[in-house]
């Protein structure tokens, strides 16, 4: 595939864009290398063709362009920007172009040297077990065999870019083979034979489509964050976004999710944010155990790390690299969660390039195609049925960093149009240290949650009403508020502080299973539905303070322990001591669910 290599010569340099003059053919989005002579020797700087005009082409360079001069040679590869797929991806830390950073550090030291590209896959041997035999018919995406990769059975598949129907000519017997060694030969309808190894390439900007059908996402992707799973759930194969002003808790929320989410594989795309935050993840994950498997969390994680001071063109590519790796593991029937922080930095990378290309700018100088690019990125999330009947999913959650914290800006708006759930963080709540600072009234989800919908709607109405009362109370004071209104306010405040807020540092409270969420939500529901017997507001306030204190202890006690049962009994006793009746609508709900 890389036999026809044409070349060009640099005729212009502007920031991270070079213009070349070429003879022969150039392919849109193909990869080229700018040859640069430096005192440290020749360097090849990876670039991508992004515009062709006559015999000139513009390339975005994925590296610093310092030192490039007119006349420098550019080699064109005829290959689109691609990633390498195969066993050994899990646990890796890559830059936006799949360069393994720890290995790079071993070779280059503290700094990121230009033009050094290492093999993304470790040169390892894998225990291969064939699942086909000579004579079998296979098409793209079918398994040739499997290798154990940590806790997963990694399918070695017919490369997705082989579009014909093939006959297996030979396959190696079970045994240990190097990742780049030949494991099978397949023959197409014209008789051409293709040797297969455990690895192949796939262009990052093209979604992997080797499946039979796309299905509607329904099953919840459990995050173990109560507010999310109960009120604004995410579905496996769905999409959601987390916009919020700086410091509101986007990154922390994603970090919590990357640890606790009930999925097989998590891919973290640190896109144009702080390097220090990635360091926390990559130092801590190897030490943390995945409660589902008992193995280190790193074994189910891939980190794509193109932080804010790394080259901006590679930042643009990084989210696609992440999406492609996610789709690859989806093809093995696994549930993959892709977390991108922050999609605004990715959009800004597009804006920078668009500016250099002197395209006609849209709102806030973002390119006019911003919306469609964002839409097609989130479109890569999906639940699919694979050819063998199993299903796999990619769920995408992206943070958005709106300028000035104002959601009325192009990236947030374009994202809101396409995602299935919106978890908006509020400055007010983060300033009040109410974490996770997701605004419970403004956020929404189109997916079905783990708790009955009419009950959560009931609770949501309490929140709305409580919020109204709180607003009113600011004007008329506590004195001017009726006892009934005041109780609604106390109920909503109670719900907020013991259920919506969650202590991410508490060993128990930081991740709450769905089973437990359902259980304690029932207790909450009883409290919200209760009609109380209070004479004065002070009584009501003190009572709710007591309830809250008890409930926080209840939240801190381990699931299904004696302590948990005892606290629950205490709570329910306290409830019945002051309850005189139950709200009629709520009573009906309890009737019907029984």
């Amino acid at each position: 595939m890389k036999d026809i290599i044409s070349t060009g010569k640099v005729v212009g340099v502007n920031g991270n864009m070079v213009t070349i003059e070429f003879d022969g053919e150039v392919l849109m989005n193909e990869v080229g290398y700018v040859k640069l002579n430096t005192p440290q020797g020749e360097k090849n700087l990876k670039s991508e063709v992004i515009r062709i005009n006559g015999n000139r082409a513009d390339l975005q360079v994925f590296e610093m362009t310092r030192g490039i001069g007119i006349g420098d040679v550019v080699e064109l590869t005829r290959n689109l920007l691609a990633v390498t797929l195969g066993p050994g991806l899990l646990g890796q830390i890559y830059d936006g172009l799949q360069n393994p950073l720890p290995q790079l550090a071993e070779q280059c030291g503290f700094f990121l040297d230009r033009g050094v590209y290492l093999d993304p896959l470790p040169a390892k041997e894998w225990d291969f077990t064939p699942v086909v035999k000579p004579g079998d018919t296979v098409t793209r995406g079918d398994s040739i065999g499997t290798v154990p990769e940590g806790i997963f059975t990694h399918r070695i598949m017919v490369p997705f870019n082989l579009l014909d129907t093939y006959k297996v000519k030979s396959v190696v017997p079970a045994g240990s083979y190097p990742v780049s060694g030949k494991i099978a030969e397949i023959e197409d309808s014209k008789g051409t034979v293709y040797p297969l190894t455990m690895r192949f390439q796939w262009p990052v900007k093209r979604a992997i489509d080797a499946y039979t059908e796309r299905l509607k996402p329904v099953d919840p992707m459990v995050t173990k964050v109560r507010l999310i799973d109960t009120f604004i759930p995410v579905a496996k194969g769905g999409t959601y976004c987390i916009p919020g002003p700086f410091g509101a808790g986007k990154t922390v929320l994603q970090q919590i999710t990357s640890r606790n989410a009930e999925v097989d594989i998590v891919i973290i795309a640190a896109c144009g944010e702080r390097a220090g935050e990635v360091v926390e993840t990559l130092k801590e994950f190897p030490e943390l155990t995945d409660p589902r498997t008992g193995k280190s969390l790193m074994e189910r994680t891939i980190i794509i790390c193109n932080t804010s001071s790394m080259p901006v063109a590679a930042r643009e590519a990084s989210v696609y690299t992440a999406a492609t790796l996610a789709e690859y593991y989806r093809q093995m029937g696994l549930d993959v969660l892709l977390l991108a922080d922050s999609t605004s930095r990715w959009a800004q990378a597009m804006r920078e390039m668009s500016g250099r290309l002197e395209e006609i700018p849209g709102e806030e100088a973002f390119p006019a195609y911003l919306e469609s690019v964002i839409a097609s990125f989130y479109e890569r999330a999906c639940l699919v049925r694979l050819k063998d009947g199993s299903t796999g999913s990619v769920t995408i959650g992206g943070t958005v960093s709106p300028a000035g914290g104002n959601f009325e800006e192009p990236v947030t708006q374009a994202t809101l149009k396409v995602v299935g759930a919106f978890h908006g963080l509020s400055r007010e709540r983060s300033d009040a240290r109410k974490y996770p600072a997701i605004h419970p009234l403004e956020s929404w989800s189109k997916y079905k949650g783990s708790v009955e919908f009419d009950k959560t709607e009931y609770a949501r109405r309490v929140l709305y009403k409580g919020n109204d009362v709180a607003q009113m109370m600011k004007v008329v004071g506590e004195e001017g508020t009726s006892l009934d209104d005041y109780i609604v306010y106390l109920k909503s405040d109670f719900l907020d502080s013991v259920y919506l807020q969650q202590n991410s540092f508490d060993p128990v409270d930081n991740s709450v299973s769905v089973e437990r969420q359902r259980h304690i939500f029932d207790v909450i529901f009883k409290i919200l539905a209760a009609i109380f017997d209070f004479q004065v507001k002070d009584d009501a306030r003190q009572y709710f303070n007591q309830l809250r204190q008890l409930f926080l202890d209840y939240n801190g006690s381990g699931w299904d322990t004696d302590e948990f049962t005892a606290k629950e009994k205490e709570l329910l006793d306290l409830l019945s001591s002051k309850q005189k009746d139950i709200d009629e609508t709520a009573a009906q709900m309890l009737e019907t669910t029984r």
């Binding site: 640099v10 005729v11 212009g12 310092r66 490039i68 001069g69 002003p245 804010s308 973002f366």
Partner: protein, 434 residues
């Protein structure tokens, strides 16, 4: 070897164009005009046209002036001889000392491999309780001071510089008023810190392109010292001037602005500087403290806004104090667990009660009745502001914690503070005497 051209084809703002060949992107040239010599940097190559940004500005340059290409990008001398010296953004001496030419290093080099970074772990003590107790500064942190224009931000920077336990200080001044420059110089001199300080100063009257160079030059030098094992504190004031210089240049280059005239890459530009803050395993570190003045006192203005998205927290300077709300050190939890057992609890407890004080103040101003509790809070808030929050307070962390307990004891009963019983037993003042 070096080529000289004497036909400048266009001059627009600070940018000149010549026809030349063999020129590399970001190379330097020297432009000699009737007003003297200035460096210029290649910012665009197109066919045989080379666009250069002239550090001293385009004013007074004639089309017949000489442009001599130096064949290398912007560099700065690096050695211990820099210590105690004062330079401009271009690296030329501003004091009367000799120009330095030994051991030239490139500025704005590549970024640190994230896999080589380590989790920050050392506190930088400043003697300012609002920092040490409530928002500890951590070695390798990047932290801005968000300030409205009248606030004493340079005084604050100078104080931190004097008191922080670091090996050396690099002060990068951008659009600095000459008086402020003298103030820094005098303060550091009086405190005997001048010999471990390097200045890179652009004053308000200097050419604007030099303003752009200040952070890169400061940080390149800092990086070298850090690699040699030094703990370096870099002070940058005022980054809003830096951003405004970028805006001005972007507009003369006819770039499409994104937000209030600032270029679309403002975030990346700021980030590539702030991300130089680092702790090198087995060597030294760079900590960055920067002033960001907020035009119109508006934190959503593009400069403080983009900064907040990059840095690890921020200090809000308001009414001559570091505001406890809004201010945040995102790295404090890495260090405040190992200081003294009451540190975290006291930090949270004091802030909670201070928030309650603010509520009481509000009620008072609306004419609601003050309860006993409100009265206690009012007393507490006042003492807190005077004895811990005022910038004039200068005590070590442990003293500040003791002070916190004293203030509590002066205003409240132990159980009213919400502090855990075992801490009250150990730290409540006056226990030993009884």
């Amino acid at each position: 070897m070096r080529k000289v051209y004497s036909k400048i084809e266009s001059i627009a703002g600070n940018v000149i164009t010549v026809s030349a060949d063999g020129i590399k992107y970001e190379d330097l040239a020297e432009v000699s005009s009737a007003h003297g010599r200035s460096l210029a940097q290649v910012i665009k190559l197109k066919d045989d046209k080379v666009a250069l940004q002239v550090f001293a500005g385009g004013r007074g340059i004639s089309t017949g002036d000489e442009v001599r290409f130096l064949g290398h990008p912007m560099r700065i001398s690096f050695s211990d001889n820099l210590l105690g010296r004062i330079f401009n953004g271009g690296g030329q001496p501003r004091d009367n000392g000799p120009a330095l030419t030994e051991n030239m290093i490139e500025i704005a080099g590549p970024s640190v491999n994230p896999a080589k970074r380590i989790i920050p772990r050392n506190m930088v003590r400043t003697g300012i309780p609002m920092i040490d107790v409530f928002n500890s500064l951590v070695e390798s942190q990047k932290l801005p001071i968000f300030s409205s224009s009248g606030e004493p931000y340079n005084e604050l920077l100078a104080r931190i510089a004097m008191q922080a336990e670091v090996d050396m200080i690099i002060l990068g001044g951008m659009g600095l008023k000459y008086d402020d420059y003298l103030f820094f110089k005098d303060t550091l001199e009086e405190g005997g810190a001048l010999s471990r300080t390097i200045f890179f100063v652009h004053t308000a009257s200097d050419p604007i392109v030099e303003c752009l160079l200040v952070p890169d030059v400061s940080l390149a030098v800092a990086e070298q010292f850090a690699l040699q094992g030094k703990k370096v504190l870099v002070l940058l004031t005022d980054m809003t001037n830096f951003a405004d210089a970028m805006k001005e240049i972007a507009i003369t280059m006819e770039q499409v602005p994104s937000n209030r005239g600032y270029p679309g890459d403002l975030y990346s530009q700021l980030a590539s500087r702030y991300e130089k803050a680092v702790d090198f395993e087995g060597a030294g570190s760079i900590t960055i403290l920067a002033v960001t003045t907020m035009p119109g006192d508006d934190v959503t203005h593009p400069v403080p806004d983009n900064t907040g998205y990059i840095t690890e927290g921020q200090f809000y300077l308001k009414n001559g104090r570091i505001e406890p709300f809004g201010s945040l050190s995102r790295l404090k939890q890495q260090v405040n667990k190992d200081t003294r057992e009451d540190h975290r609890a006291l930090m949270d407890g004091m802030i909670k009660l201070y928030a309650a004080y603010k509520e009481s103040m509000e009620k008072k101003s609306m004419g609601f009745r003050m309860s006993d509790w409100d009265t206690k809070l009012l007393k507490y808030g006042e003492i807190f502001e005077k004895e811990l929050m005022a910038l004039s307070v200068n005590i070590p962390l442990e003293k500040a914690l003791d002070k916190g307990w004293e203030i509590f004891a002066e205003c409240f009963m132990p159980e009213e503070t919400g502090m855990r019983t075992e801490l009250l037993k150990k730290f409540w003042p006056g226990k030993e005497e009884k």
